[in-house]
């Protein structure tokens, strides 16, 4: 029962419009630092573009998709209009205004600090204010998800919360807590410097705060994808979800162990002790667990669907899957990219192996494969699946959807595999210019060119995606019926209270955060003389 269609569509369109712009920037960046670009250009433009691309793709786009999908889940899974629609519009406008406020100084070249901020670099204060507005807007969503969850539970004390809503609230709580790190960094460290009240900044502490956000944010991006795996995919291919409880446990594991692991981004940083790096490494290893559970459950669900369709044999059932169904295709391609990306991630999280690829293009390749590949391809699937229900018009350009999904997959592989490879060769990330005539760098030229071609394949796929959605707005009117989620093989009538509530899991999440982050942060706060002079972007030095 989707009643806030305009709200949800507004979120999706803003998300995808921003995505389209950032995608063009991304393709330009791939081109301009590749050997294809034989002209000189101002490297400052590159850093502006990277900042805009990262801020939009990292903060604006996934946040809006999670919000839109969250509202859609609230109304369709709980089968009632959501509470607080007016607040939801407030949140939307905060995100929209925040995105504009942040992007103006970036386009003017006043805040080329990249989306990870990198103190002691400090840009125009309005960039950070814009990011804060985006986060505050998303916190309204967090609150609304929680309120709707609690209200429904109160009205239905004897029914388990539908899986989609349970997972959605898990994502909301995770984001609510993980955004606190960057918020502390911006409000108490960067903004006072950006407004000129202070001229020095504790860059080490700022990096620790940012790592608090930086890794768990990935799981916030990931959760809509996982919700789609569990609640859209089995229904779309005509099967059933293998296990409802397993799904809940996966999302709970994300809530608990996604947080206390961010210091693995700081393996090369001196301000955190080696012991804490090890502890974070251990928990990073644990976060593979919910993903392995998910891969198992989803493959099992696919097998159920296939055998219902007459699939036979130990592996023969794979061919009986409905491969022409875009959701089937997107999920399969997503899992392949998740597999490769996850394998790369295991290298990043290990202290010794990380040393060989830290701060190289390997890292950029890794997060594009996981986020841009495995996660975003499921955002496409979510949009395709929801669109007829939101617009009230048929979306039947299936051939185009399949082409789009294949192009995204191929483009992402062609982009990121060579990217990983040049990282192993030692190519540093965050650089605008590489002299490919230098014999030491020349062997990387071919891989970088391949990568750039992949970037343009992705751009074509992105244009196709927007075309499909745009045509969907003007298609034939048709009533799509109620939006439904996948039904598990065994529909739970009663479930343990632990799998139906978050109190315990939030307590563990916050407890583990204190254990793993408490000492490093307290120590850096207490140490004297840890501040360094701020480097103002665009200022004369």
């Amino acid at each position: 029962m989707l009643s806030s269609k305009r709200l949800i569509l507004a979120h999706f369109w803003l998300a995808f419009a921003a995505f389209g712009v950032a995608l063009v920037l991304g393709a330009w960046q791939m081109f301009v630092r590749s050997p294809f670009n034989v002209w000189h250009f101002n490297p400052e433009f590159y850093y502006r573009s990277v900042t805009a691309h990262g801020s939009v793709m990292g903060y604006v786009f996934p946040t809006l998709v999670a919000m839109a999908f969250g509202y859609a889940i609230t109304e369709s899974a709980l089968e009632k209009p959501m509470i607080g629609r007016r607040w939801a519009w407030t949140g939307f406008f905060l995100v929209a205004i925040g995105a504009v406020v942040a992007m103006v100084p970036v386009s003017l070249g006043l805040a080329s600090v990249l989306y990870t901020f990198y103190p002691p670099m400090v840009g125009n204060p309005f960039y950070y204010v814009g990011v804060v507005l985006v986060v505050v807007g998303s916190w309204i969503w967090v609150a609304l998800m929680s309120i709707n969850f609690i209200a429904w539970k109160r009205e239905n004390p004897d029914r388990p919360v539908p899986l989609a809503m349970f997972a959605n609230v898990a994502g909301a709580y995770l984001w609510g807590w993980t955004a606190v790190g960057a918020a502390l960094e911006i409000l108490f460290q960067i903004l006072p410097v950006a407004f000129g009240l202070r001229s020095t900044i504790d860059a080490g502490l700022a990096r620790v705060f940012f790592s608090w956000t930086l890794h768990a944010i990935v799981y916030f991006w990931l959760i809509p994808t996982y919700i789609a795996y569990y609640t859209i995919f089995p229904r779309a291919i005509g099967g059933r979800l293998y296990s409802d409880a397993m799904a809940r446990i996966s999302f709970i594991l994300f809530v608990v162990v996604a947080m206390p692991i961010g210091v693995h981004h700081l393996f090369a940083d001196p301000q955190v002790g080696a012991g804490f790096k090890f502890m974070h490494s251990v928990f990073t290893g644990l976060v593979a667990l919910p993903t392995l559970l998910t891969v198992f459950t989803i493959c099992a669900s696919a097998e159920i669907a296939s055998r219902l369709r007459g699939g036979k044999g130990a592996f023969g059932w794979v061919s009986a899957l409905p491969w022409k169904n875009p959701i089937m295709l997107a999920t399969a391609l997503s899992l392949v990219m998740l597999g490769f990306g996850g394998a790369g991630g295991l290298i990043n999280m290990s202290y010794q192996l990380d040393a060989s690829i830290h701060n190289t293009q390997w890292i950029t390749g890794h997060f594009h494969l996981i986020f841009g590949g495995a996660i975003v391809i499921m955002y496409f699937a979510i949009a395709y699946d929801l669109w007829p229900h939101l617009t009230g018009r048929a979306l039947n350009t299936f051939g185009m959807m399949r082409t789009q999904l294949w192009l995204w997959f191929i483009g992402m592989i062609v982009t990121t595999f060579p990217w990983h490879y040049v990282g192993i060769l030692g190519m540093p990330r965050r650089m605008a210019f590489y002299d490919y005539l230098n014999p030491a760098i020349a062997p990387q030229a071919f891989s970088v060119m391949m990568s750039a071609i992949g970037g343009f394949i992705l751009l074509i796929s992105g244009i196709l995606f927007l075309t499909v959605l745009f045509r969907g707005q003007f298609g034939m009117r048709s009533e799509a019926g109620a939006y439904r989620f996948a039904i598990p093989v065994h529909m739970p009538a009663r479930i343990p209270v632990a799998l139906n509530s978050f109190g315990l899991w939030l307590a563990l999440m916050i407890g583990l955060t204190l254990v793993n982050y408490g000492f490093p942060i307290a120590q850096l706060l207490a140490l004297p003389q840890t501040n360094v002079p701020a480097v103002y972007v665009g200022a004369a030095r």
Partner: protein, 263 residues
């Protein structure tokens, strides 16, 4: 569902999840804070508490009390935004008077062809630091050391302010057609040499690094050779010595000729 009590050790979900989480946290802490540091032979730890402090990243004074002191003087100049102070007319005027004794080598307008550094337009921090280093003996030169020996701190600041005030004059050997050698533009990352311009202007400027444009090639070459040989050692943390040691003789020539030809 609501009749079950969640926060109770009778609830197996609670006891299992809390128990497992605490066990993993304790095991990883024991391994990361005690076992792994003690397993490292190079860490030289006094005991378990020492291991924990080391792994937690608590800064400690070095265990061995005998810090090796160099047998020569090192620069003790600290450059902050307030080092030079205000470059007002009085300071510049005093500097101009004091600078008359410098003119025989450095030129009456701060420019000369005597293969001594051209000081006109040089950053005040640079002139001040070098004078200070000559005075303390961190840098030694038969001509300059006696001059600096009797200068007060304010004298050095005034002279520095005066030369910074003078306009830069293109050298007589200026030639914009000289192409920048690779060592200037990109450095040599494999030898840990950054591009010259990343400290000496053009790309970026770090306080205390001199402006090199228009300096005598003979002077630049002599200084780089002195850095490489360890004869000059007033660079902080061996910045220039480490660079010069890894430069080839040919690169030193190229750099010297290139900067001499620059404005």
């Amino acid at each position: 569902m609501s009749e079950q009590k969640l926060f109770s050790f009778r609830n197996s979900w609670f006891s299992t999840s809390v128990g497992t989480t605490v066990a993993i946290a304790i095991a990883s802490a024991l391994a990361g804070l005690i076992w792994l540091p003690l397993a490292q032979p190079d860490l030289k730890l006094a005991g378990i508490w020492d291991a924990i402090c080391s792994a937690a990243g608590i800064p400690r004074a070095p265990v061995s009390a005998s810090v090796q002191q160099p047998d020569f003087k090192t620069s003790n100049v600290v450059l902050t935004p307030d080092t030079i102070g205000r470059k007002d007319a009085v300071s510049i005027g005093r500097g101009a008077t004091l600078a008359q004794r410098c003119a025989i080598c450095h030129g009456p307008q701060g420019v000369s062809d005597a293969n001594s550094p051209n000081l006109a337009g040089q950053f005040a921090e640079v002139t001040y630091k070098e004078l200070h280093d000559f005075k303390t003996g961190a840098r030694v030169n038969v001509v300059m050391s006696p001059f600096a020996a009797n200068m007060s701190d304010q004298d050095m600041k005034d002279v520095a302010a005066y030369y910074a005030y003078l306009p830069r004059v293109p050298s007589s050997k200026a030639d914009e057609k000289v192409p920048p050698p690779p060592i200037v533009v990109t450095g040599a990352p494999m030898r840990n040499i950054p591009p010259c311009g990343s400290c000496h202007g053009e790309l970026d400027y770090k306080a205390g690094s001199p402006w090199l444009g228009g300096q005598s090639a003979v002077y630049i070459k002599a200084q780089l050779q002195a850095f490489a040989a360890g004869a000059r050692r007033n660079d902080i943390s061996q910045q220039m010595r480490n660079i010069a040691r890894h430069m080839t003789a040919e690169e030193i020539d190229q750099v010297a000729r290139y900067y001499e030809a620059q404005p």
